[in-house]
Symmetry: C2
Subunit: 443 residues, 2 copies
């Protein structure tokens, strides 16, 4: 089975005829994507990636991952946005959000260069002090502030610890194939390099070397992941009314046009929290432009049923939920019997938490739909690498289609420059003198 959509809990909100009326828009969006002539079509390399990926590069990723695993106890991944969210999502989804704390035969993995926080960097250096460390810096240009600063500091750390020659074997650079100062420097310094493809944007890059190297270092089966993505590609990259990917794109556009302007991605496992963060970048950055777009939010239940649950049940009705329904949990834990029954839960004795968790999900789907919140359910088999690949491709494709239906370019992110320009000006970066003067008058 590939990913499936269950729309039982949107039926009270969306008529079958609405889906029929919007279907031609979804089909047209898919055709536009496949024609490679739509807005942003220089960035659709991810569409065929699961079948057309560079086998040599892929083999080098696997080889480097094995070397890294044998060389270090801590692997530091330096990158921001799409350069870290996919890998981190995969590691937590397939392994665990407790990956670093659990005993294992693979290195601990820390993510750096995604914040300017001094504490975050100082603490990571402290954590690394007595460990054997390798570093993977991921940056297309090499000039993005956050990863560049972290890389300066970790390069110094490694060179001090292992010498320049020793550090050389421990630094792995994922960057542009040919251009850019980071690529030039890496070649000169003798670092092994991997490619950020020209035709795949950051938020669509998890199945390139950007994501695959850290994922492989964690000991995850990337063959299964690529094959999962290929399964979704086969299932969804085609016209037809039974295409759940088009159905997801259609439902969310219908709901948006009804005033449901916030979409909440729901998981029932803490290990899905980073998958939700990856999804939020994918959808928020692809659709949030030109004054429109669904606001992407997320919750992890049942945890957040005791937090945002009240709002979702009973607050302003401009929200809908998309629920990740993972059929088979990764572990089995049974509720023990308590002769004292102090909590009154003996009716659960002998039941598995997986079973109770799914029942909580069913009860919540009904409650939230009754409360006026449409719920789209996306089903996947389990938290395997294959299911991760399936879900990634499903959501990427649905996002592109949905963005075209909304009438935006789903592959650019012009708004990300606005804060950077102001920051550079206020920091006194050469070339920003005029803006600096203007801004300082406003502060």
């Amino acid at each position: 089975m590939s990913v499936k959509l269950n729309d039982s809990f949107t039926r009270g909100f969306v008529k079958e005829s609405e889906l029929e009326y919007i279907a031609p828009q979804a089909e047209a969006a898919l055709s536009l994507l496949k024609s490679k002539k739509g807005p942003g079509s220089d960035f659709v390399g991810w569409v065929d990636l699961p079948v057309s990926y560079d086998r040599d590069e892929y083999a080098r990723v696997k080889d480097a991952a094995l070397r890294i695993r044998s060389m270090c106890s801590v692997f530091v991944v330096i990158g921001i946005g799409g350069s870290y969210l996919g890998a981190r999502a995969a590691i937590e989804f397939v392994k665990s959000n407790n990956y670093n704390a659990l005993a294992k035969n693979t290195p601990k993995i820390y993510f750096a260069g995604n914040t300017i926080s001094p504490s975050a960097l100082a603490e990571l250096l402290e954590i690394c002090r007595d460990e054997d460390v390798c570093v993977n810096v991921i940056s297309k240009s090499g000039t993005t502030t956050e990863p560049a600063v972290a890389f300066r500091i970790f390069r110094g750390f490694l060179e001090e610890k292992y010498g320049i020659e020793g550090a050389k074997k421990r630094i792995f650079v994922t960057t542009d194939r040919a251009r850019g100062t980071l690529k030039a420097f890496a070649d000169r310094a003798g670092y092994e390099t991997f490619v950020v493809p020209d035709d795949i944007g950051g938020r669509y890059s998890v199945l390139t070397s950007v994501g695959l190297l850290p994922i492989a270092v964690a000991g995850i089966d990337i063959d299964a992941m690529m094959s999962g993505a290929a399964t979704s590609r086969d299932a969804f990259l085609r016209e037809g009314s039974d295409n759940d990917c088009l159905r997801y794109a259609s439902l969310r556009n219908i709901l948006y046009r009804k005033g449901k302007t916030t979409e909440i991605l729901v998981g029932y496992e803490p290990s899905l929290a980073l998958f939700a963060e990856w999804w939020k970048q994918l959808y928020g950055e692809s659709e949030g432009k030109d004054g429109k777009g669904i606001y992407p939010s997320s919750v992890m239940f049942s945890t957040d049923l005791h937090s945002l649950g009240q709002y979702i049940q009973d607050g302003l009705r401009n929200i809908f939920e998309t629920v990740l329904d993972i059929k088979t949990p990764a572990a089995t834990v049974t509720v023990p019997h308590d002769p004292d029954n102090i909590d009154g839960l003996n009716f659960l004795s002998g039941r598995t938490l997986g079973d109770i968790n799914r029942t909580a999900m069913m009860g919540t789907l009904i409650a939230h739909a009754d409360g006026g919140v449409p719920n789209i359910v996306i089903e996947a088999n389990d938290t395997s690498a294959g299911s991760f690949g399936e879900l990634v491709y499903f959501f990427e494709l649905a996002c592109a289609v949905s963005g075209y239906m909304l009438g935006v370019n789903p592959f650019d992110q012009p708004g990300v420059e606005a804060y950077k320009k102001n920051m550079f000006a206020l920091l006194g970066k050469p070339g920003y003198e005029e803006l600096r003067d203007t801004l300082q008058k406003r502060l």
Copy 2:
């Protein structure tokens, strides 16, 4: 200095006259709260807590914390919603989100019983296997499913590891003062107990034993925290046009009535992420009812400027931001000079990350306001225990006032029962047979 509000970046969106016109509503809401005659007035014990807290109980918390620190390497805190978010927020805010990974002379602290995930529980048991463990179970009734199941399992774990007598000294119960099966059982079993006060709801309980015991175990100065809360109480529990707490409540109600229906809490440190989760429960559960309320969301910048940043800059204009401006960062890290200047960042050489981070904040405030997003700035001195206490009281008081201005009972959470009822029915809990039949027909 106590907490301060800076409204420079809301001025383009809210006229001074609007604040004048709404001021009487804010004053009335504050009076209603102080009169203890408003909706939910059985739950306003938090208002005077910073000055009237039970000194004996407080001394016992400190004493137990010292014993726990000497007895264990891992401290497991079992609770859901308000029974864990405040403590976890405090530990990450004052210590670090890397608290468990860093070297220290206090136990690692894990939070359990806030999910039904079997993996989460199985992994924590694995982590605890070779550690010395103490447990704090926090539940008013003792019958909430998630913590009750976790407590059954951890009680068994401790009794197997230390025997019934040994386990007795390692189990700490925070529950109702007198009623409930958990209190009765704890007394019978000989566990030390602490009180969840009757007049303080879960989301307002961080400065009671509910939050203070785990916070003290982490080695945080709870005296300073209580004193910070008292500082805010002095500053804001009073009428007057220069009251920043009333100003915050007023601004968010004005913005809501203009269609800004989502509020995004912004931090610039990863260690503020759990504070934002605490804030989301506080505001979402207090205001999200009767079909209304601001949807609370959060981001950590600059991380999420490369994710939700695009949407915030340029998406649908129904959002506003509330920015936590922490004046002094907890660490100092300086950007090293790079003779190669491969990243073009030598204009930052010798500057501190704290300085760059604040400049990123200024640049972002300007960019987002220019993009049509009002930004409220809440200033605090630092990430000390005192500042945490100040912020907690500021946001609690503003929340109560804001809820009364919206016209809701900010102290109940009727919607939280809806999913529970369905879940119990579907799980076959005695007494829910009729609902069970109804629901099963719908699945």
